[in-house]
Protein backbone atom coordinates (compact mmCIF):
# COMPACT_ATOMS: atom_id res chain seq x y z
CA UNK A 1 0.00 0.00 0.00
CA UNK A 2 2.86 2.35 0.72
CA UNK A 3 4.69 3.42 -2.39
CA UNK A 4 8.16 3.39 -0.89
CA UNK A 5 11.13 1.06 -0.62
CA UNK A 6 10.71 -0.10 2.98
CA UNK A 7 10.25 -3.85 2.73
CA UNK A 8 8.72 -5.67 5.67
CA UNK A 9 8.67 -9.39 6.27
CA UNK A 10 5.64 -11.10 4.80
CA UNK A 11 3.14 -11.64 7.58
CA UNK A 12 2.41 -15.08 6.12
CA UNK A 13 5.97 -16.08 7.08
CA UNK A 14 5.48 -15.25 10.75
CA UNK A 15 4.58 -18.40 12.72
CA UNK A 16 2.08 -16.64 14.98
CA UNK A 17 0.14 -15.20 12.04
CA UNK A 18 0.23 -18.53 10.24
CA UNK A 19 -1.14 -20.34 13.30
CA UNK A 20 -3.89 -17.77 13.78
CA UNK A 21 -4.84 -17.97 10.13
CA UNK A 22 -4.96 -21.77 10.20
CA UNK A 23 -7.25 -21.78 13.22
CA UNK A 24 -9.57 -19.17 11.65
CA UNK A 25 -9.74 -21.08 8.39
CA UNK A 26 -10.35 -24.34 10.23
CA UNK A 27 -13.19 -22.73 12.18
CA UNK A 28 -14.65 -21.39 8.93
CA UNK A 29 -14.60 -24.74 7.16
CA UNK A 30 -15.99 -26.40 10.28
CA UNK A 31 -18.83 -23.90 10.57
CA UNK A 32 -19.86 -24.41 6.94
CA UNK A 33 -20.23 -28.14 6.84
CA UNK A 34 -18.47 -29.45 3.72
CA UNK A 35 -18.96 -33.13 4.59
CA UNK A 36 -21.78 -33.68 2.11
CA UNK A 37 -19.91 -32.17 -0.81
CA UNK A 38 -17.40 -33.66 -3.21
CA UNK A 39 -14.68 -33.22 -0.53
CA UNK A 40 -16.50 -35.62 1.78
CA UNK A 41 -16.70 -38.22 -0.97
CA UNK A 42 -13.02 -37.73 -1.66
CA UNK A 43 -12.16 -38.43 1.96
CA UNK A 44 -14.54 -41.36 2.33
CA UNK A 45 -11.64 -43.89 2.72
CA UNK A 46 -10.80 -42.12 5.99
CA UNK A 47 -14.19 -41.09 7.32
CA UNK A 48 -16.42 -43.75 5.80
CA UNK A 49 -19.83 -42.78 4.47
CA UNK A 50 -19.91 -38.95 4.56
CA UNK A 51 -23.58 -38.91 5.62
CA UNK A 52 -22.89 -40.98 8.73
CA UNK A 53 -19.44 -39.66 9.61
CA UNK A 54 -20.82 -37.10 12.06
CA UNK A 55 -18.54 -34.89 14.14
CA UNK A 56 -15.38 -36.84 13.30
CA UNK A 57 -16.01 -36.62 9.56
CA UNK A 58 -16.76 -32.92 9.76
CA UNK A 59 -13.56 -32.30 11.68
CA UNK A 60 -11.41 -34.35 9.28
CA UNK A 61 -12.88 -32.68 6.21
CA UNK A 62 -12.46 -29.16 7.58
CA UNK A 63 -8.93 -30.00 8.81
CA UNK A 64 -7.83 -31.28 5.40
CA UNK A 65 -9.45 -28.33 3.63
CA UNK A 66 -7.78 -25.79 5.90
CA UNK A 67 -4.37 -27.46 5.50
CA UNK A 68 -4.77 -27.33 1.69
CA UNK A 69 -5.87 -23.71 1.85
CA UNK A 70 -3.01 -22.49 4.07
CA UNK A 71 -0.37 -24.52 2.22
CA UNK A 72 -1.61 -23.03 -1.02
CA UNK A 73 -1.28 -19.52 0.39
CA UNK A 74 2.17 -20.26 1.74
CA UNK A 75 3.41 -21.64 -1.57
CA UNK A 76 2.05 -18.71 -3.53
CA UNK A 77 3.70 -16.27 -1.12
CA UNK A 78 7.14 -17.42 -2.25
CA UNK A 79 6.43 -16.55 -5.90
CA UNK A 80 7.07 -13.20 -7.52
CA UNK A 81 4.29 -10.62 -7.44
CA UNK A 82 3.16 -11.03 -11.06
CA UNK A 83 3.13 -14.81 -10.77
CA UNK A 84 1.20 -14.53 -7.50
CA UNK A 85 -1.47 -12.44 -9.14
CA UNK A 86 -1.65 -14.83 -12.08
CA UNK A 87 -1.96 -17.94 -9.91
CA UNK A 88 -4.63 -16.41 -7.69
CA UNK A 89 -6.65 -15.36 -10.74
CA UNK A 90 -6.43 -18.84 -12.22
CA UNK A 91 -7.39 -20.45 -8.92
CA UNK A 92 -10.38 -18.16 -8.39
CA UNK A 93 -11.49 -18.76 -11.96
CA UNK A 94 -11.36 -22.51 -11.48
CA UNK A 95 -13.26 -22.17 -8.22
CA UNK A 96 -15.93 -20.26 -10.12
CA UNK A 97 -16.02 -22.98 -12.77
CA UNK A 98 -16.30 -25.64 -10.08
CA UNK A 99 -19.12 -23.65 -8.52
CA UNK A 100 -20.97 -23.52 -11.86
CA UNK A 101 -20.18 -27.16 -12.52
CA UNK A 102 -21.65 -28.20 -9.18
CA UNK A 103 -25.08 -26.93 -10.35
CA UNK A 104 -25.45 -30.28 -12.07
CA UNK A 105 -26.05 -28.65 -15.42
CA UNK A 106 -26.01 -29.96 -18.92
CA UNK A 107 -23.19 -27.67 -20.02
CA UNK A 108 -22.82 -29.42 -23.36
CA UNK A 109 -26.24 -27.91 -24.19
CA UNK A 110 -24.53 -24.58 -24.80
CA UNK A 111 -22.51 -25.97 -27.68
CA UNK A 112 -24.98 -28.37 -29.31
CA UNK A 113 -27.14 -27.66 -32.32
CA UNK A 114 -26.39 -26.13 -35.67
CA UNK A 115 -25.90 -23.21 -35.14
CA UNK A 116 -24.82 -23.83 -31.55
CA UNK A 117 -26.74 -22.08 -28.78
CA UNK A 118 -23.83 -19.87 -27.82
CA UNK A 119 -23.39 -18.75 -31.43
CA UNK A 120 -27.12 -18.08 -31.66
CA UNK A 121 -26.82 -15.83 -28.64
CA UNK A 122 -23.78 -14.02 -29.96
CA UNK A 123 -25.12 -13.62 -33.50
CA UNK A 124 -28.62 -12.52 -32.51
CA UNK A 125 -28.09 -10.85 -29.13
CA UNK A 126 -24.58 -9.51 -28.76
CA UNK A 127 -24.78 -6.99 -31.58
CA UNK A 128 -28.00 -5.46 -30.23
CA UNK A 129 -26.53 -5.21 -26.74
CA UNK A 130 -23.41 -3.46 -28.02
CA UNK A 131 -25.40 -1.25 -30.36
CA UNK A 132 -27.83 -0.12 -27.63
CA UNK A 133 -25.02 0.49 -25.13
CA UNK A 134 -22.84 2.39 -27.58
CA UNK A 135 -25.61 4.72 -28.74
CA UNK A 136 -26.76 5.30 -25.16
CA UNK A 137 -23.21 6.03 -24.01
CA UNK A 138 -22.78 8.63 -26.77
CA UNK A 139 -26.07 10.36 -25.97
CA UNK A 140 -25.47 10.19 -22.21
CA UNK A 141 -22.08 11.87 -22.65
CA UNK A 142 -23.64 14.69 -24.64
CA UNK A 143 -26.38 15.12 -22.02
CA UNK A 144 -23.78 15.08 -19.27
CA UNK A 145 -21.71 17.90 -20.78
CA UNK A 146 -24.76 20.11 -21.24
CA UNK A 147 -26.10 19.14 -17.81
CA UNK A 148 -22.82 19.87 -16.07
CA UNK A 149 -22.52 23.31 -17.66
CA UNK A 150 -26.12 24.05 -16.73
CA UNK A 151 -25.55 22.98 -13.15
CA UNK A 152 -22.54 25.25 -12.90
CA UNK A 153 -24.19 28.25 -14.50
CA UNK A 154 -25.69 31.26 -12.75
CA UNK A 155 -28.82 31.01 -14.89
CA UNK A 156 -31.69 30.08 -12.61
CA UNK A 157 -33.66 28.26 -15.28
CA UNK A 158 -30.71 26.23 -16.48
CA UNK A 159 -29.71 25.27 -12.96
CA UNK A 160 -33.26 24.40 -11.96
CA UNK A 161 -33.87 22.26 -15.03
CA UNK A 162 -30.54 20.46 -14.73
CA UNK A 163 -30.85 19.79 -11.02
CA UNK A 164 -34.46 18.62 -11.40
CA UNK A 165 -33.35 16.31 -14.19
CA UNK A 166 -30.49 14.76 -12.22
CA UNK A 167 -32.65 14.44 -9.13
CA UNK A 168 -35.50 12.74 -11.00
CA UNK A 169 -33.47 10.36 -13.11
CA UNK A 170 -31.08 9.40 -10.35
CA UNK A 171 -34.02 8.94 -8.03
CA UNK A 172 -36.04 6.47 -10.11
CA UNK A 173 -35.09 2.85 -10.69
CA UNK A 174 -33.90 2.32 -14.26
CA UNK A 175 -36.42 -0.45 -14.86
CA UNK A 176 -39.22 1.95 -13.92
CA UNK A 177 -37.84 4.59 -16.28
CA UNK A 178 -37.83 2.06 -19.10
CA UNK A 179 -41.50 1.24 -18.48
CA UNK A 180 -42.44 4.91 -18.04
CA UNK A 181 -40.86 5.93 -21.32
CA UNK A 182 -42.13 2.91 -23.26
CA UNK A 183 -45.68 2.98 -21.97
CA UNK A 184 -46.05 6.61 -20.90
CA UNK A 185 -44.84 8.59 -23.91
CA UNK A 186 -47.37 7.05 -26.35
CA UNK A 187 -50.14 8.33 -24.07
CA UNK A 188 -48.91 11.82 -24.95
CA UNK A 189 -49.04 10.96 -28.62
CA UNK A 190 -45.34 10.29 -29.07
CA UNK A 191 -45.05 6.77 -30.38
CA UNK A 192 -41.61 5.35 -29.90
CA UNK A 193 -40.58 1.76 -30.48
CA UNK A 194 -38.92 -0.60 -28.06
CA UNK A 195 -35.30 0.04 -29.02
CA UNK A 196 -35.54 3.87 -29.01
CA UNK A 197 -37.39 3.68 -25.66
CA UNK A 198 -34.63 1.55 -24.21
CA UNK A 199 -31.93 3.85 -25.54
CA UNK A 200 -33.79 6.92 -24.23
CA UNK A 201 -34.14 5.43 -20.74
CA UNK A 202 -30.51 4.33 -20.58
CA UNK A 203 -29.18 7.66 -21.87
CA UNK A 204 -31.34 9.76 -19.57
CA UNK A 205 -30.51 7.68 -16.50
CA UNK A 206 -26.78 7.50 -17.13
CA UNK A 207 -26.74 11.08 -18.42
CA UNK A 208 -27.93 12.12 -14.95
CA UNK A 209 -25.17 10.21 -13.16
CA UNK A 210 -22.55 11.44 -15.61
CA UNK A 211 -23.75 15.05 -15.25
CA UNK A 212 -22.68 14.86 -11.62
CA UNK A 213 -19.33 13.30 -12.55
CA UNK A 214 -18.65 15.98 -15.16
CA UNK A 215 -19.75 18.74 -12.79
CA UNK A 216 -17.42 17.49 -10.09
CA UNK A 217 -14.58 17.19 -12.60
CA UNK A 218 -15.04 20.74 -13.84
CA UNK A 219 -15.42 22.09 -10.30
CA UNK A 220 -12.21 20.44 -9.20
CA UNK A 221 -10.21 22.90 -11.35
CA UNK A 222 -9.27 25.82 -9.10
CA UNK A 223 -11.30 28.99 -9.51
CA UNK A 224 -8.10 30.89 -10.21
CA UNK A 225 -7.82 29.29 -13.62
CA UNK A 226 -11.17 30.75 -14.65
CA UNK A 227 -10.26 34.15 -13.25
CA UNK A 228 -6.86 34.17 -14.94
CA UNK A 229 -8.36 33.17 -18.29
CA UNK A 230 -10.99 35.89 -18.02
CA UNK A 231 -8.34 38.40 -17.13
CA UNK A 232 -6.58 37.44 -20.35
CA UNK A 233 -9.79 38.12 -22.27
CA UNK A 234 -10.82 34.57 -23.23
CA UNK A 235 -14.47 33.88 -23.92
CA UNK A 236 -16.45 31.24 -21.98
CA UNK A 237 -16.46 28.54 -24.68
CA UNK A 238 -12.75 28.89 -25.30
CA UNK A 239 -11.88 28.71 -21.59
CA UNK A 240 -13.96 25.57 -21.21
CA UNK A 241 -12.57 23.84 -24.28
CA UNK A 242 -8.92 24.82 -24.10
CA UNK A 243 -8.21 25.35 -20.42
CA UNK A 244 -10.71 23.73 -18.07
CA UNK A 245 -11.80 20.52 -19.86
CA UNK A 246 -8.28 19.32 -20.76
CA UNK A 247 -7.42 19.47 -17.06
CA UNK A 248 -10.64 17.94 -15.78
CA UNK A 249 -10.76 15.06 -18.26
CA UNK A 250 -8.15 12.98 -16.40
CA UNK A 251 -10.37 13.35 -13.32
CA UNK A 252 -13.56 12.57 -15.25
CA UNK A 253 -12.32 9.51 -17.17
CA UNK A 254 -12.06 6.84 -14.41
CA UNK A 255 -15.58 7.27 -13.00
CA UNK A 256 -17.00 7.66 -16.51
CA UNK A 257 -15.43 4.35 -17.49
CA UNK A 258 -17.21 2.77 -14.55
CA UNK A 259 -20.49 4.24 -15.80
CA UNK A 260 -19.89 2.73 -19.25
CA UNK A 261 -19.34 -0.68 -17.74
CA UNK A 262 -22.41 -0.33 -15.54
CA UNK A 263 -24.49 0.76 -18.51
CA UNK A 264 -23.40 -2.22 -20.60
CA UNK A 265 -24.74 -4.48 -17.90
CA UNK A 266 -27.87 -2.44 -17.26
CA UNK A 267 -28.73 -2.65 -20.95
CA UNK A 268 -30.00 -6.12 -20.01
CA UNK A 269 -33.01 -4.41 -18.39
CA UNK A 270 -34.42 -3.43 -21.79
CA UNK A 271 -35.08 -7.13 -22.39
CA UNK A 272 -38.48 -6.54 -20.74
CA UNK A 273 -39.50 -4.63 -23.86
CA UNK A 274 -38.91 -7.73 -25.98
CA UNK A 275 -35.73 -6.49 -27.61
CA UNK A 276 -33.67 -9.42 -28.79
CA UNK A 277 -30.50 -8.59 -26.90
CA UNK A 278 -28.22 -10.86 -24.87
CA UNK A 279 -30.35 -11.15 -21.76
CA UNK A 280 -33.54 -11.71 -23.74
CA UNK A 281 -31.92 -14.43 -25.83
CA UNK A 282 -30.48 -16.06 -22.70
CA UNK A 283 -33.89 -16.20 -21.08
CA UNK A 284 -35.77 -17.43 -24.12
CA UNK A 285 -33.41 -19.82 -25.89
CA UNK A 286 -32.98 -22.05 -22.86
CA UNK A 287 -36.65 -22.02 -21.92
CA UNK A 288 -37.72 -24.20 -24.85
CA UNK A 289 -35.66 -27.13 -23.61
CA UNK A 290 -35.89 -26.11 -19.93
CA UNK A 291 -32.15 -25.38 -19.79
CA UNK A 292 -32.47 -21.88 -18.39
CA UNK A 293 -29.47 -21.79 -16.11
CA UNK A 294 -27.09 -22.97 -18.81
CA UNK A 295 -27.98 -20.06 -21.06
CA UNK A 296 -27.94 -17.57 -18.19
CA UNK A 297 -24.42 -18.72 -17.31
CA UNK A 298 -23.40 -18.28 -20.95
CA UNK A 299 -24.78 -14.76 -20.95
CA UNK A 300 -22.91 -14.09 -17.70
CA UNK A 301 -19.66 -15.14 -19.35
CA UNK A 302 -20.29 -12.96 -22.41
CA UNK A 303 -21.11 -9.91 -20.27
CA UNK A 304 -18.03 -10.54 -18.20
CA UNK A 305 -15.81 -10.78 -21.29
CA UNK A 306 -17.29 -7.54 -22.61
CA UNK A 307 -16.64 -5.68 -19.36
CA UNK A 308 -13.07 -7.00 -19.23
CA UNK A 309 -12.50 -5.53 -22.68
CA UNK A 310 -14.02 -2.22 -21.55
CA UNK A 311 -11.83 -2.24 -18.43
CA UNK A 312 -8.75 -2.72 -20.58
CA UNK A 313 -9.74 0.18 -22.81
CA UNK A 314 -10.39 2.32 -19.75
CA UNK A 315 -6.96 1.48 -18.31
CA UNK A 316 -5.35 2.49 -21.63
CA UNK A 317 -7.14 5.83 -21.72
CA UNK A 318 -6.22 6.50 -18.11
CA UNK A 319 -2.56 5.76 -18.81
CA UNK A 320 -2.61 8.10 -21.77
CA UNK A 321 -3.97 11.00 -19.73
CA UNK A 322 -1.59 10.31 -16.88
CA UNK A 323 1.34 10.56 -19.28
CA UNK A 324 0.06 13.89 -20.51
CA UNK A 325 -0.35 15.20 -17.01
Amino acid sequence: MFVDTVIEDKSLHKPAFLLGLSITVLAFFFAFNFTNTIFGEFLSPVIGNPQESGFFGRLVVSFVLSIIFVLNLLLISFARLKIQIFIVWIELFFLFLAFAYSFDLELAYIFIGEPSKIWLMISKGLFTTIYISAVSIAIATAIAIVGAIAKLSNNGFAYAIASFYTSLFRGLPLLLQIYLIYMGLPQLGFMIDAIPSGIAALSLCYGAYMTEIFRAGIQSIPKGQWEASRALGFKFGLILRKIILPQSIPIIVPPTGNQFIAMLKDSSLVSVLGIWELMFMAKKIGSKDFNNLEMLLTAAMIYWALTIILEMIQARIERKYQQKA
Partner: protein, 285 residues
Amino acid sequence: MSIKLGFTKSSIAFAVALLSLNMTVQAGAVYDYIKSNNELMIATDANWAPYSYINDAGEMEGFDVDVGREIAKRMGVEARFITPSWDIITSGNWNMRWDVSVGSMTPTETRSEVLNFPAVYYYTPAGFAVHTDSPITTLAGLNGKNVCTTAASTWEMYLEGSLDMIDAPAFTYKVTPGTITSLADGHTCLDDTRLGAGVRNDGIIDSIPMIQGAIEDGYPIRFLGDPAFFEPLSVATDKGNDDPELDAEIARIIAAMKKDYTLTMMSMKWFKNADGSSNDYTIAF
Protein backbone atom coordinates in the same frame (compact mmCIF):
# COMPACT_ATOMS: atom_id res chain seq x y z
CA MET B 1 -50.94 42.85 -14.51
CA SER B 2 -50.29 41.06 -17.70
CA ILE B 3 -47.83 38.24 -17.87
CA LYS B 4 -45.81 37.90 -20.98
CA LEU B 5 -44.93 34.36 -21.78
CA GLY B 6 -41.47 33.75 -23.10
CA PHE B 7 -42.81 31.19 -25.54
CA THR B 8 -44.30 32.49 -28.73
CA LYS B 9 -47.83 31.60 -29.65
CA SER B 10 -46.58 29.81 -32.73
CA SER B 11 -44.49 27.37 -30.72
CA ILE B 12 -47.51 26.41 -28.63
CA ALA B 13 -49.58 26.04 -31.78
CA PHE B 14 -46.84 23.86 -33.21
CA ALA B 15 -46.82 21.60 -30.14
CA VAL B 16 -50.60 21.26 -30.25
CA ALA B 17 -50.45 20.49 -33.95
CA LEU B 18 -47.79 17.85 -33.34
CA LEU B 19 -49.94 16.15 -30.72
CA SER B 20 -53.10 16.23 -32.79
CA LEU B 21 -51.19 14.98 -35.81
CA ASN B 22 -50.17 11.91 -33.87
CA MET B 23 -53.72 11.44 -32.65
CA THR B 24 -55.15 11.46 -36.14
CA VAL B 25 -52.61 8.90 -37.31
CA GLN B 26 -53.62 6.65 -34.44
CA ALA B 27 -57.36 6.87 -34.79
CA GLY B 28 -58.83 3.68 -36.30
CA ALA B 29 -58.13 2.21 -39.70
CA VAL B 30 -55.64 -0.33 -38.36
CA TYR B 31 -56.71 -2.74 -41.06
CA ASP B 32 -56.02 -0.18 -43.80
CA TYR B 33 -52.61 0.39 -42.26
CA ILE B 34 -51.85 -3.34 -42.30
CA LYS B 35 -52.91 -3.58 -45.91
CA SER B 36 -50.98 -0.54 -47.07
CA ASN B 37 -47.92 -1.62 -45.10
CA ASN B 38 -48.32 -5.20 -46.38
CA GLU B 39 -47.36 -6.43 -42.93
CA LEU B 40 -49.25 -7.84 -39.94
CA MET B 41 -47.36 -7.14 -36.72
CA ILE B 42 -48.10 -9.95 -34.29
CA ALA B 43 -47.21 -9.77 -30.61
CA THR B 44 -46.51 -13.04 -28.89
CA ASP B 45 -44.50 -14.11 -25.88
CA ALA B 46 -41.36 -16.03 -26.88
CA ASN B 47 -41.27 -18.07 -23.73
CA TRP B 48 -43.92 -20.71 -24.18
CA ALA B 49 -43.01 -23.90 -25.95
CA PRO B 50 -44.97 -25.38 -27.67
CA TYR B 51 -47.11 -22.25 -28.21
CA SER B 52 -44.45 -19.80 -29.26
CA TYR B 53 -40.73 -19.96 -28.67
CA ILE B 54 -37.36 -19.38 -30.28
CA ASN B 55 -36.22 -22.53 -32.06
CA ASP B 56 -32.70 -23.87 -32.57
CA ALA B 57 -32.22 -21.69 -35.63
CA GLY B 58 -33.09 -18.59 -33.61
CA GLU B 59 -36.50 -18.10 -35.21
CA MET B 60 -40.02 -17.96 -33.82
CA GLU B 61 -41.88 -21.25 -33.90
CA GLY B 62 -44.90 -22.92 -32.32
CA PHE B 63 -48.67 -23.27 -32.47
CA ASP B 64 -49.41 -19.57 -31.99
CA VAL B 65 -46.76 -18.66 -34.55
CA ASP B 66 -48.32 -21.02 -37.10
CA VAL B 67 -51.78 -19.56 -36.43
CA GLY B 68 -50.41 -16.02 -36.72
CA ARG B 69 -48.68 -16.81 -40.03
CA GLU B 70 -51.88 -18.37 -41.38
CA ILE B 71 -53.95 -15.31 -40.41
CA ALA B 72 -51.46 -13.03 -42.17
CA LYS B 73 -51.42 -15.32 -45.19
CA ARG B 74 -55.20 -15.26 -45.48
CA MET B 75 -55.15 -11.48 -45.16
CA GLY B 76 -52.67 -11.45 -48.02
CA VAL B 77 -49.88 -9.75 -46.07
CA GLU B 78 -46.55 -10.70 -44.50
CA ALA B 79 -46.38 -11.75 -40.85
CA ARG B 80 -43.89 -10.12 -38.48
CA PHE B 81 -43.51 -11.19 -34.86
CA ILE B 82 -42.48 -9.05 -31.94
CA THR B 83 -41.94 -10.35 -28.45
CA PRO B 84 -42.83 -7.90 -25.66
CA SER B 85 -43.22 -9.32 -22.17
CA TRP B 86 -46.66 -10.73 -21.35
CA ASP B 87 -47.71 -7.99 -18.93
CA ILE B 88 -47.02 -5.32 -21.58
CA ILE B 89 -49.25 -7.14 -24.07
CA THR B 90 -52.12 -7.62 -21.62
CA SER B 91 -52.03 -4.04 -20.36
CA GLY B 92 -53.36 -2.77 -23.72
CA ASN B 93 -52.66 0.68 -25.21
CA TRP B 94 -50.46 -0.79 -27.89
CA ASN B 95 -50.48 2.46 -29.88
CA MET B 96 -50.03 0.50 -33.09
CA ARG B 97 -46.67 -0.87 -32.03
CA TRP B 98 -48.23 -4.14 -33.12
CA ASP B 99 -51.59 -4.94 -34.67
CA VAL B 100 -52.78 -8.15 -33.04
CA SER B 101 -51.81 -10.54 -30.28
CA VAL B 102 -51.86 -14.18 -31.33
CA GLY B 103 -50.49 -15.34 -28.03
CA SER B 104 -53.03 -17.67 -26.43
CA MET B 105 -54.76 -14.96 -24.48
CA THR B 106 -57.84 -15.83 -22.47
CA PRO B 107 -60.64 -13.27 -22.80
CA THR B 108 -61.49 -11.94 -19.35
CA GLU B 109 -63.75 -9.10 -18.21
CA THR B 110 -60.75 -7.19 -16.88
CA ARG B 111 -58.76 -7.54 -20.07
CA SER B 112 -61.76 -6.66 -22.23
CA GLU B 113 -61.65 -3.16 -20.75
CA VAL B 114 -58.52 -2.49 -22.82
CA LEU B 115 -58.58 -5.24 -25.45
CA ASN B 116 -61.01 -6.69 -27.98
CA PHE B 117 -61.29 -10.43 -28.47
CA PRO B 118 -62.55 -10.97 -32.01
CA ALA B 119 -62.11 -14.77 -32.20
CA VAL B 120 -61.39 -17.70 -29.88
CA TYR B 121 -59.18 -20.11 -31.80
CA TYR B 122 -58.65 -22.94 -29.31
CA TYR B 123 -59.02 -24.09 -25.70
CA THR B 124 -56.30 -25.29 -23.42
CA PRO B 125 -56.49 -27.13 -20.12
CA ALA B 126 -54.78 -25.66 -17.07
CA GLY B 127 -53.60 -27.96 -14.33
CA PHE B 128 -51.63 -28.20 -11.12
CA ALA B 129 -48.33 -29.98 -10.67
CA VAL B 130 -46.12 -30.77 -7.69
CA HIS B 131 -42.64 -32.19 -7.11
CA THR B 132 -42.55 -35.98 -7.46
CA ASP B 133 -41.48 -36.28 -3.79
CA SER B 134 -44.31 -34.06 -2.61
CA PRO B 135 -46.59 -35.56 0.05
CA ILE B 136 -49.54 -33.76 -1.55
CA THR B 137 -51.81 -36.15 -3.44
CA THR B 138 -55.05 -34.24 -3.97
CA LEU B 139 -55.91 -30.72 -5.12
CA ALA B 140 -57.33 -30.01 -1.66
CA GLY B 141 -53.86 -30.72 -0.29
CA LEU B 142 -52.65 -27.48 -1.86
CA ASN B 143 -55.08 -25.39 0.20
CA GLY B 144 -53.14 -22.97 2.37
CA LYS B 145 -49.90 -23.86 0.63
CA ASN B 146 -47.54 -21.77 -1.53
CA VAL B 147 -48.46 -22.03 -5.22
CA CYS B 148 -46.34 -20.46 -7.95
CA THR B 149 -47.52 -19.07 -11.29
CA THR B 150 -46.98 -16.42 -13.97
CA ALA B 151 -47.83 -12.83 -13.09
CA ALA B 152 -50.87 -11.33 -14.87
CA SER B 153 -52.00 -14.78 -16.06
CA THR B 154 -55.39 -16.47 -15.88
CA TRP B 155 -53.77 -19.04 -13.58
CA GLU B 156 -52.95 -16.27 -11.13
CA MET B 157 -56.57 -15.06 -11.32
CA TYR B 158 -57.75 -18.61 -10.70
CA LEU B 159 -55.61 -18.83 -7.56
CA GLU B 160 -56.95 -15.48 -6.40
CA GLY B 161 -60.51 -16.65 -7.06
CA SER B 162 -61.04 -13.74 -9.45
CA LEU B 163 -61.05 -15.49 -12.81
CA ASP B 164 -63.60 -13.65 -14.94
CA MET B 165 -63.30 -15.50 -18.25
CA ILE B 166 -65.75 -14.66 -21.02
CA ASP B 167 -67.60 -17.50 -22.79
CA ALA B 168 -65.60 -20.12 -20.90
CA PRO B 169 -66.58 -23.68 -20.03
CA ALA B 170 -67.90 -23.90 -16.45
CA PHE B 171 -65.36 -24.45 -13.69
CA THR B 172 -65.02 -24.35 -9.90
CA TYR B 173 -62.22 -23.08 -7.70
CA LYS B 174 -60.64 -26.22 -6.32
CA VAL B 175 -57.62 -24.71 -4.60
CA THR B 176 -57.29 -21.80 -2.16
CA PRO B 177 -53.56 -21.30 -1.69
CA GLY B 178 -52.12 -19.64 1.39
CA THR B 179 -49.47 -17.80 -0.61
CA ILE B 180 -49.40 -17.05 -4.33
CA THR B 181 -45.92 -16.61 -5.75
CA SER B 182 -46.34 -14.66 -8.99
CA LEU B 183 -43.25 -14.47 -11.18
CA ALA B 184 -42.85 -12.44 -14.36
CA ASP B 185 -41.40 -15.53 -16.00
CA GLY B 186 -43.51 -18.59 -15.30
CA HIS B 187 -40.58 -20.81 -16.20
CA THR B 188 -38.88 -19.85 -12.98
CA CYS B 189 -41.75 -21.53 -11.12
CA LEU B 190 -40.85 -24.84 -12.73
CA ASP B 191 -37.19 -24.35 -11.83
CA ASP B 192 -38.19 -23.52 -8.26
CA THR B 193 -40.33 -26.65 -8.03
CA ARG B 194 -37.40 -28.70 -9.29
CA LEU B 195 -35.42 -27.72 -6.17
CA GLY B 196 -37.67 -29.93 -4.08
CA ALA B 197 -41.13 -30.17 -2.55
CA GLY B 198 -41.83 -27.13 -0.38
CA VAL B 199 -38.42 -25.51 -0.94
CA ARG B 200 -39.58 -22.45 -2.85
CA ASN B 201 -43.14 -23.48 -3.56
CA ASP B 202 -45.43 -26.41 -2.86
CA GLY B 203 -46.91 -26.58 -6.32
CA ILE B 204 -47.55 -24.77 -9.56
CA ILE B 205 -50.44 -24.09 -11.88
CA ASP B 206 -49.72 -23.79 -15.58
CA SER B 207 -51.03 -24.93 -18.93
CA ILE B 208 -50.99 -28.71 -19.19
CA PRO B 209 -48.98 -28.89 -22.47
CA MET B 210 -46.33 -26.72 -20.82
CA ILE B 211 -46.07 -28.96 -17.75
CA GLN B 212 -46.08 -31.98 -20.06
CA GLY B 213 -43.06 -30.52 -21.85
CA ALA B 214 -41.21 -30.04 -18.58
CA ILE B 215 -41.92 -33.62 -17.50
CA GLU B 216 -40.69 -34.95 -20.83
CA ASP B 217 -37.55 -32.90 -20.32
CA GLY B 218 -36.87 -34.74 -17.07
CA TYR B 219 -38.22 -32.32 -14.49
CA PRO B 220 -39.06 -34.19 -11.26
CA ILE B 221 -42.70 -33.08 -11.24
CA ARG B 222 -46.04 -34.80 -11.62
CA PHE B 223 -49.58 -33.70 -12.42
CA LEU B 224 -51.96 -33.24 -9.51
CA GLY B 225 -55.58 -34.16 -10.07
CA ASP B 226 -57.64 -33.44 -13.17
CA PRO B 227 -57.36 -30.26 -15.27
CA ALA B 228 -58.47 -27.32 -13.11
CA PHE B 229 -60.23 -25.47 -15.90
CA PHE B 230 -60.34 -25.11 -19.66
CA GLU B 231 -59.63 -21.65 -20.92
CA PRO B 232 -60.70 -20.26 -24.27
CA LEU B 233 -57.81 -18.59 -26.06
CA SER B 234 -58.36 -15.76 -28.41
CA VAL B 235 -56.74 -13.39 -30.82
CA ALA B 236 -56.66 -9.94 -29.23
CA THR B 237 -56.74 -6.45 -30.72
CA ASP B 238 -56.28 -3.07 -29.08
CA LYS B 239 -59.39 -1.31 -27.81
CA GLY B 240 -57.49 1.98 -27.86
CA ASN B 241 -57.30 1.69 -31.66
CA ASP B 242 -60.70 0.14 -32.18
CA ASP B 243 -61.08 -1.16 -35.73
CA PRO B 244 -64.26 -3.19 -36.31
CA GLU B 245 -63.13 -3.99 -39.84
CA LEU B 246 -59.95 -5.70 -38.55
CA ASP B 247 -61.91 -7.59 -35.87
CA ALA B 248 -64.47 -8.79 -38.44
CA GLU B 249 -61.70 -9.93 -40.77
CA ILE B 250 -59.97 -11.89 -37.98
CA ALA B 251 -63.27 -13.48 -36.92
CA ARG B 252 -63.93 -14.48 -40.53
CA ILE B 253 -60.44 -15.98 -40.98
CA ILE B 254 -60.54 -17.96 -37.71
CA ALA B 255 -64.01 -19.31 -38.56
CA ALA B 256 -62.71 -20.40 -41.97
CA MET B 257 -59.63 -22.00 -40.38
CA LYS B 258 -61.91 -23.97 -38.06
CA LYS B 259 -64.16 -25.02 -40.89
CA ASP B 260 -61.41 -26.38 -43.15
CA TYR B 261 -59.68 -28.06 -40.15
CA THR B 262 -56.49 -26.00 -40.51
CA LEU B 263 -56.62 -25.23 -36.80
CA THR B 264 -57.22 -28.88 -35.92
CA MET B 265 -54.20 -29.91 -37.99
CA MET B 266 -52.06 -27.32 -36.23
CA SER B 267 -53.26 -28.42 -32.81
CA MET B 268 -52.52 -32.07 -33.65
CA LYS B 269 -49.07 -31.05 -34.83
CA TRP B 270 -48.05 -29.13 -31.72
CA PHE B 271 -49.92 -30.70 -28.81
CA LYS B 272 -48.72 -34.25 -28.30
CA ASN B 273 -49.22 -36.46 -25.28
CA ALA B 274 -46.51 -38.55 -23.64
CA ASP B 275 -47.71 -41.63 -25.56
CA GLY B 276 -47.34 -39.82 -28.89
CA SER B 277 -51.06 -39.26 -29.45
CA SER B 278 -52.22 -35.81 -30.48
CA ASN B 279 -54.75 -33.41 -28.99
CA ASP B 280 -57.36 -31.41 -30.81
CA TYR B 281 -57.78 -28.40 -28.55
CA THR B 282 -59.95 -26.48 -31.00
CA ILE B 283 -63.06 -27.77 -29.23
CA ALA B 284 -63.83 -27.29 -25.54
CA PHE B 285 -64.24 -30.33 -23.33
